[in-house]
């Protein structure tokens, strides 16, 4: 029997929004802008690209930070402006929207796959503990797929990640936290 893959509602809504947009070409263009910390993911994949609007020559792009202190926001803003400028759009405004707060649920299915291939376990590769937080073991190793792993730090190389180590292949790896 074929498995029917279910897309979380938030992801479905984002996809609808992008497909229905009259500036679909701009969404596609911004899908090329990568997150500076995880360069395999675009800002679309990560879910921080929230909206694109066009009023004549004026483009308004709305982004949202993953974590309050995400130091990448300034770079992302510059990259968005540069990407649009390279395609001939000079009047670009980048707005930061805090609400609704970013959720790792917004990450695209493609983004999750790319993340795993890059060596970072996506949020769904660990079963959360009773408090809904990163567990202290068993996140799936993105290198050898073993579940025999342990958490070595609550926080990884960035606020959005925790650090794990695989007990089978011994490789350390980042786990993208669910929030």
């Amino acid at each position: 029997m074929n498995e029917i893959s279910l897309m979380p509602e938030e992801q479905y809504r984002r996809l609808q929004q992008r497909n229905a947009a009259d500036v679909k070409d701009l969404w596609d263009l911004l899908d090329q802008v990568k997150d500076p910390e995880v360069p395999v993911l675009s800002i679309w994949d990560l879910g921080i690209l929230r909206d694109v609007e066009r009023d004549g020559d004026h483009i308004v792009v709305t982004i949202t930070p993953t974590y309050s202190g995400c130091p990448a926001m300034n770079t992302i803003t510059d990259d968005v402006i540069a990407a649009l400028k390279a395609s001939g759009y000079d009047q670009v405004e980048v707005k930061t929207k805090l609400s609704p707060a970013w959720s790792s649920e917004w990450m695209s299915p493609d983004g999750r796959r790319k993340l795993r291939n890059y060596g970072i376990a996506p949020p769904e590769d660990a079963e959360l503990d009773d408090d809904g937080l990163t567990p202290d073991a068993h996140a799936q190793c993105p290198h050898c797929s073993s579940r025999n792993t342990r958490r070595i730090s609550e926080f990884g190389s960035t606020a959005c990640k925790a650090l794990f180590q695989c007990n089978d292949c011994n490789e350390p790896f980042d786990y993208f936290k669910k929030i």
Partner: protein
Amino acid sequence: MSDAIKAATLEYATRLGDDSVVLGHRISEWVSYGPFLEEDIAYGNVALDYIGRARMFYTYAAELADDGRTEDDFAYMRSDRDYRNLLLMEMPKGDFAYSQVRQLFADVYYTVMLPELLQSKDETLSAIAAKAIKETKYHLRRSREWVMRLGDGTEESHKRTQKAVDALWGFTHELFDMDETEQMLADAGIGVDVSKLRDTWLKMVSDILTEATLTVPEDDWAVRGGRTGYHTEHLGHMLTEMQIVHRSYPGCQW
């Protein structure tokens, strides 16, 4: 928004920003001094969360002030007497036990305070709370684990952790004080009535301290003044270090 409410909200956003930037800076002082690499990285991340919060509160304060100031002016161009942070946040980092106990007190405080701020009729304050709540869960788990490990650890770690609890206890009363400004905002459904939160905070903190084999101190002393700009001598020293580059090279960019 009436003028009085707007002025009070500006003051309130500044206070919350001050709490965040001062605590964030104190935590950042641990970077490169952590007991091991992962802990060093963890502390750096928590500091970033707080500095990020401060930026959001200050950006909102600057928007309300509407006098040309930016978030940077709030952080770097005010002196210690202008800062309105709670004294708990400015105490020097001390030893590792001291910083973790302060962190526990602050994390439990935000755990009980932020869900109330989320209910604020002010959309921006509510949005900042929504982001901070998620991060605070991770912060609290970490500080709770450390206090448990240190309190119920060796004789030396127990002694130091109890000493930290005793030394910081008198600074926690101020966390639940209300003044006219905050009362007005609480009545308007914008600010949090923190005076109602102490029982829950005390219960949560007492449970954790007890489990860590530590003694919950008596309420026999209290220091106050942060919200009116009367600080310990430590804040001035901290701000000197935090603000010197900005003040020495006005408009500097890299």
